[in-house]
Symmetry: C2
Subunit: 687 residues, 2 copies
C-alpha cells in the first residue's frame, strides 16, 4: 500500500537490522508445522481454467461455475492500520465490505497505539452482528514507520490456528461480496500459498525514468492491496526465512529505495513462482495515474474491488475516475448504523453488550408516552475518538481541557473558540457519516483550526430523534487528558485570559492537594450579533451597565445562575464559596475524574442541573472565580429545541426523568440527598 511514487530513504543497513528484529520478536521458534488441512482444500485444489488470471479480453471474469463458500461460513480478514488518517480510511473499506457481505466475518486489525484506541472504541460501539473485530496492537517501537512491511509478518502475528486469511490495504473499496473472493482459495494448488492480482502498471518493467531500478518481479509483478494467504502453508514452508533471505540479498545489490512489502513479495515470487496463484484482475482494480486497469474493467461484467493505489488517492487523474469516486463516496458517506443488519439464517452470537442492550430495549413499553426518550437513552452511538490527527500537549500538573459538544450547526463557533482558548480541548461532535466528511473539509480549509494539534475531535454518530447531550459530554470528558476539565458549552466564548487564569487558580487554590472543589466560571450573554468581546472584567462590567450584556438567561431563567451571586462577583477580588440551590447549573472547572453526566437526560432540559446536583451530593465545594467569565453568543433556536419546548409530552417526560433521577440520588446518597427532594417541591419555572 505504500505509495509507489514516494521513495522512502531507509538505509539498507538499518533495514537489515529491523528485518532481523521482526523475525526475533514475532517468529522466535513458534512455528507450527502440524496444522490440519483446511476443510475442502484438497477437493477444490487443482488447475485453474485457462486465462484465469490474465488481462486479455474475456479473461477478467472468473470462470463459471464458481465455487461459493457455504452460507454462514466464517471468513477471516486482516488489515494493517496505523495512525489517525488510516483509521478513517479503514472505516470506508469496512463499510463497503459489510455492505455486500453475507457471511460472518472475523476482522484481524493489526494496529499502532493510536489506531488501537480509535478502532477498539469504534468497533465496540458499532456492534455489527456477525462481525468479530480483534484489534492486535504491535507495541514494539521498532515497527513504527515500518507498517508497510507488516503484511510480510502476518503469518507470525495472526493467531497460530488461523489457516486462511484475506489481507486488505486500507485504500481498497469493495463493490461485491467478499465471499466470492474467499471462494478463490479453492483454486489454489497444493503448492500455492499466495493469491495476488497482477500489477496494472509498468512499474516493475523499469525505465519509467532515468535510474528507475525497480525490485525484481515476475513480468508485470503483482499488487499487494488484496492478498489471499494460506497461512498454514506459509508457516510450514518457512516463509519467514524465505522472504528475509530474498530481501537481504536484494538489498545488497539494490540501492535502498521505495521499500514496501510489495517489493519483497514480488522478489520472493520471482524466485519461487509456484507460490503464487494469480487472481482475476477485477479483484484489485488499481486506480493509479497511468493505470492499465481499463483493459480489465471495460471487459469484465463486474468490478469487485477498486484500489486507490496512487499517492493522490481520489485526486488521481483518470478518465473514469468520477465513476469510481462515486462508488467510494457511497461508502464514505454511508450511515454505518445501517450496517447493523442481521445475517438471516446464520447463528449469530451478538457482539459484547448487544445482548443486554437488546433485553433492555425489549423491556421498554412502546405505548409509554416517553418511549422515545427511553429508547434514546439506551442507544449505543458509534463513537470515533480523535477523528483528526491529535497531539496532546505534554502533561502538566494544573492543566485544564475545555470540554464541549456540538453538532453541524455550531461548526462556525470553532474558530472563535480556538482564538479565545489557547489550551487543549476535547470536543464531541454529533454528526452523520456524511457530515463528518464536511467537518473534515471544514477543518482542512481553516488555517486557524488546522494549526491546532491540541484540539481532539470525537465524532459521535447520529441516531434517534433526540440530541444525546449528556452522552456527548461524557465522551468528550472521557477523552480529556489533563488533570482538570472546564465543562463548557459550545455557544460560549471564554475570556481571552481564562485558560491562563484557570491554571493559576487551580495552583493557587491547591486543588491538586486533594481539595474537592468545582470552580465556577460566571456566565453572561449578549443578544446582539455584532459584539466587541470585553478584554477585561472592567470592560465586561461596563457593557453590563450599558445593557449590551446580561447575566446568562437573566430574562428567562434566572434561577439557573442566581447562586453564583453576580452582585458579589462584581466586587469580588478573591474566590468565594457559594451554596447549591435548586436548578443551579453553572459552568465549572473540576478534576477529570469528576462524576459523569447522567445520560438519561437527552434533548433539552435538566442535563447540567443533575450533574451539579451530583457534584454537590459528593461534597464538591462551589468556588466562584472573581476574574473568570464566559459570554454566550446568540444563535437561532435549534430545530429540536423549538419542537420540544412546545410539546406537553416532552415536559411530562422530563418530569418523569427528573423524578427517577431523584430516586436514584436518594438510593446513592441516602439522607444527604433529602435536600434535593425538598428543593423539588418548590414551584418551578420553564424547562
Amino acid at each position: 500500500m505504500l505509495p509507489r511514487g514516494r521513495p522512502r530513504a531507509l538505509g539498507a543497513a538499518a533495514l537489515l537490522l529491523l528485518l532481523f528484529l521482526i523475525g526475533f520478536f514475532l517468529f522466535g521458534g513458534d512455528l507450527d508445522y502440524g496444522r490440519p488441512r483446511p476443510r475442502g482444500a484438497a477437493a477444490l485444489d487443482g488447475d485453474l481454467p485457462a486465462g484465469y488470471g490474465g488481462h486479455n479480453s474475456s479473461d477478467c471474469d472468473p470462470p463459471r461455475p464458481r465455487p461459493r463458500p457455504p452460507k454462514c461460513e466464517l471468513l477471516q480478514v486482516a488489515i494493517v492500520c496505523a495512525g489517525h488518517n488510516s483509521s478513517r480510511d479503514i472505516i470506508t473499506l469496512v463499510k463497503s465490505m459489510l455492505f455486500y457481505r453475507k457471511n460472518p466475518l472475523h476482522l484481524h486489525l493489526v494496529t499502532d497505539a493510536v489506531a488501537r484506541n480509535i478502532l477498539e472504541t469504534l468497533f465496540h460501539t458499532w456492534m455489527v452482528p456477525a462481525v468479530w473485530p480483534q484489534v492486535s496492537w504491535i507495541p514494539n517501537k521498532h515497527y513504527s514507520g515500518l507498517y508497510g512491511l507488516m503484511k510480510l509478518v502476518l503469518p507470525g502475528v495472526l493467531p497460530p490456528d488461523l489457516v486462511r486469511v484475506i489481507v486488505l490495504d486500507t485504500d481498497v473499496t469493495f463493490a461485491s461480496n467478499i465471499a466470492e473472493l474467499w471462494a478463490l482459495f479453492a483454486y489454489f494448488s497444493d503448492k500455492q500459498v499466495i493469491g495476488l492480482v497482477e500489477n496494472q502498471s509498468d512499474w516493475y518493467f523499469g525505465n519509467l525514468w532515468r535510474n528507475h531500478r525497480p525490485w525484481p518481479a515476475l513480468g508485470r509483478g503483482f499488487n499487494t492491496g488484496v492478498i489471499l494467504l494460506r497461512l498454514d502453508r506459509l508457516r510450514q514452508a518457512g516463509w519467514e526465512q524465505m522472504w528475509k533471505m530474498t530481501a537481504t540479498r536484494e538489498l545488497l545489490t539494490l540501492p535502498a529505495t521505495s521499500l514496501a512489502d510489495q517489493d519483497i513479495f514480488n522478489a520472493v515470487i520471482k524466485e519461487h513462482p509456484w507460490l503464487v496463484q494469480p487472481l482475476p484482475c477485477v479483484w484489485n482494480v488499481q486506480l493509479s495515474d497511468h493505470t492499465l486497469a481499463e483493459r480489465c474493467y471495460s471487459e469484465a461484467s463486474d468490478l469487485k474491488v477498486i484500489h486507490w493505489n496512487s499517492p493522490k488517492k481520489l485526486r488521481v487523474k483518470n478518465k473514469h475516475v468520477e465513476s469510481f469516486r462515486n462508488l467510494y463516496l457511497t461508502f464514505l458517506e454511508y450511515d454505518g448504523n445501517l450496517l447493523r443488519r442481521e445475517l438471516f439464517g446464520c447463528p449469530c452470537p451478538l457482539p459484547p453488550g448487544a445482548k443486554q442492550l437488546q433485553r433492555a430495549l425489549a423491556r421498554l413499553d412502546e405505548e409509554d408516552a416517553c418511549f422515545e426518550f427511553r429508547q434514546q437513552q439506551l442507544t449505543v452511538h458509534r463513537v470515533h475518538i480523535t477523528f483528526l490527527p491529535h497531539k496532546p500537549p505534554p502533561s502538566q500538573p494544573h492543566d485544564v481541557t475545555l470540554v464541549a459538544q456540538l453538532s453541524m450547526d455550531r461548526l462556525q463557533m470553532l474558530e472563535a473558540l480556538c482564538r479565545h482558548w489557547p489550551g487543549p480541548m476535547s470536543l464531541a461532535l454529533y454528526l452523520t457519516d456524511a457530515e463528518a466528511q464536511q467537518f473534515l473539509r471544514f477543518v482542512e480549509t481553516s488555517a486557524v483550526l488546522s494549526a491546532r494539534q491540541d484540539v481532539a475531535y470525537h465524532v459521535v454518530y447520529r441516531e434517534g430523534p433526540f440530541y444525546p447531550i449528556n452522552q456527548l459530554r461524557n465522551v468528550a470528558l472521557a477523552q480529556a487528558l489533563t488533570p482538570y476539565v472546564f465543562l463548557s458549552d459550545i455557544d460560549f466564548l471564554p475570556a481571552y485570559s481564562l485558560y491562563d487564569y484557570l491554571r493559576a487558580s487551580i495552583k493557587q487554590l491547591e486543588l491538586d492537594g486533594g481539595r474537592k472543589a468545582a470552580l465556577v466560571v460566571p456566565a453572561f450573554e449578549t443578544l446582539h450579533y455584532r459584539f466587541s468581546f470585553p478584554t477585561s472584567k472592567a470592560e465586561l462590567l461596563a457593557l453590563l451597565d450599558a445593557g449590551s450584556l446580561h447575566t446568562f438567561r437573566y430574562h428567562e431563567w434566572p434561577r439557573g445562575h442566581a447562586p453564583t451571586d453576580y452582585a458579589h462577583w462584581r466586587e469580588a477580588q478573591e474566590p468565594y464559596r457559594v451554596q447549591w440551590a435548586a436548578d443551579y447549573e453553572p459552568y465549572v472547572v473540576v478534576p477529570r475524574d469528576c462524576p459523569r453526566y447522567d445520560s438519561r437526560f437527552v434533548g433539552f432540559g435538566w442535563n447540567k442541573v443533575a450533574h451539579i446536583m451530583e457534584l454537590d451530593a459528593q461534597e464538591y465545594e462551589l468556588l466562584v472565580l472573581p476574574e473568570a467569565f464566559i459570554i454566550h453568543l446568540p444563535h437561532a433556536p435549534s430545530l429540536d429545541i423549538s419542537r420540544f419546548r412546545s410539546s406537553p409530552t416532552y415536559r411530562d417526560c422530563l418530569q418523569a426523568l427528573k423524578d427517577e433521577f431523584h430516586q436514584d440520588l436518594s438510593r446513592s446518597y441516602g439522607a444527604a440527598a433529602l435536600k434535593y427532594l425538598t428543593a423539588l417541591q418548590q414551584p418551578r419555572g420553564p424547562v
Copy 2:
C-alpha cells in the same frame, strides 16, 4: 400493490363499465400478432429444475448455473406511479435498482398528471448514463383511482414492439442486480407469459376473519409486486379478453371487495395455470405483518428484492424488520448524484443535455482561479418539484406567490413564514437526499406546516461547494402558479397584512393592464433575537425611532437599499416611483414571467443586484409601496458566507463574473446598458 387490508368500495356495475372503457381506449383493435420471437427464447425455454419456485428448504436459491443476460443488454422495466407520495417512493426503488445494475435500462413510467410533472423534471435533471426514462401520462380521467388496475393493461399501454418487461411496484427495494431477474425469462416455457413469486401469506386461503372471501387463486396465490411479462405472447394470447372475462365473471358472484390487479391476475392464473412461471421467492420477499417470508430468507443465501406490501409500510411489525428497514433507508438517504456512474464497456449514448454539458465542462480551465465557480454554474442539480402533496389555490387574477429558497439551517423559519404569509408560496430547498427525509419529517410533525396545502416545496439536491442561490430562485420562480410573484428571502418575515395589501396594490395599480412595474417592498432588520413583530407601519416606525429596528443592512451596505428612499417612505401615502442606482437590490413583486435570475452568480454577492439591473434594463418601473414592509431576523453567519467573505479569490472571481455579466448586458440591451457600465466605475463597497 394496493394494500390488502383496505377494501375499496367500488360497485360491481361501475367497475364493469370501467373495465370495458379501459379496453376501448387502450386496446381498440390494435393488437399485433405478428411479432418476431425474442432472441434466445427458443433456446432457453424448457423445464425448470425441481423445486425452483417453492418455499421449501434450499428451494429459494435459483439453480446454478444461472443464465446471465449478456453484458450491455438493454433491460426493460415498467412502473406505475400516481400522485406526490408514490413519486417519492419510486425514487427509492429506482435508486436501489440503479445501485446494483450493470446494464442499460429503459424505464417505462406510467403516470398521472402530478407524477408526470415530477418525474419528467427529476429524470431530466438526474441525467444518469445508460438510463432511458420514458414517462407515459395516461390522461383519461376514468383511470384516476384505478391505478391499481393499470398493470393489467400494460400490454396495451407499452410500446407495441416491446417484447419483455419487468413490472415493479413502487414499494419494492432491490438488494441485487436486476439483470439476474431479467435472466429468469430464459426459464419460461413456450406457453408461459407471466413470471410471479408466490404469495407469502395465507390471504387467498380465505377465512382470515368472518366473511373473508378472497378472490380465487392457485394455492397460496401470487404476489404482483414483481412481475415478468412476455408482452408479445400476452398480446398474441388475447390477454385483454382473458382478464376481462375472468374479472367480469368473478364480479358477478363475488361481492365488490378489495379490488386490485393482483386479484384479477390470480383469478386468471387459477383458470389458466399454464400461463404462470413461478419465480424464486427471493425476488419478492413480502414484508407484511403475518408474513411467511422468513421461510424464504433464512434459507436463501441472498435476498434479491424486498417488498413493503403492508399498508403500514416501514412501520410493519416483524422480528427482522429492523434489518430490512436498514436496507430501505440505505437507498432512501442515498445521494442520487452518485448514481451518475458510467457503465464501463457498454456503448452509452449520453442523456439529453449531458453531451453539451460535458463539452462545456471540458472547455473549463482547471488552473483558472475561478474554476470552481464556473463548474458550479454549469452543474445540473437534480430537481424534485412538489416534493410534498400540493394543491394550488384556484387561479385569481391578482394573486401573488411568495418565492424564496433555503437550506436545512433555515427550516425553523418556515412556521413563522406560514403565520405571516397566508397566501401561496413556492420554495426551493437545497438539500441532500438524507436531509430531504428530515425535512419531510419536520413538515409532518408541524401542525402549522401540514395544515398548508398551498405551499409548494421543490427540492434541489446539493452538489458542489457553492450555494447555487440564483438557480434555486429560478426553480422556485418557474413553479409559481399565480400571475404575480413576490421575490423574497427566507430570513425575512412579511408584515401580517402584506399578502392582502399586495393583491390590492396589484389591482389598484392596474398591473394586469400591461403596466410593466416592479413593486418594491421596503426591507428592515432587527439585530435582536427576542422581538415583537410590529402590526402596523406606525408601530414599525416607532420601533425604528427607538433603535430596535433598522433599515436593512443600514450599517454594512446602505447602497443596497438607499434608492428605496426610506425618508420618503415614512411619510408616503401613495406608491412612488424611484430610479435604479448602482447596487440597488430591493425585494420586489413582479409578474411571473419576469426575467430569470442570472445563474452565474453562485454563493454570495451580487445575485439580486444583477436581477434588478435586468428589470431596469427591460424598463420595469420601480414603485415603492407605502404600507408594505418585511423584516429580516438575525441568524448566525452561515459557514459559506464566513468562509468566502474572507477569501481574496472569492472577491476576484465575483469581480470577473460581474464584468462578464456587464458584457452580456451590453450585448443584449446595446447603448441602453451603458449606464450600468458607468455605474460600475464608481467606488464600491463590500460584497
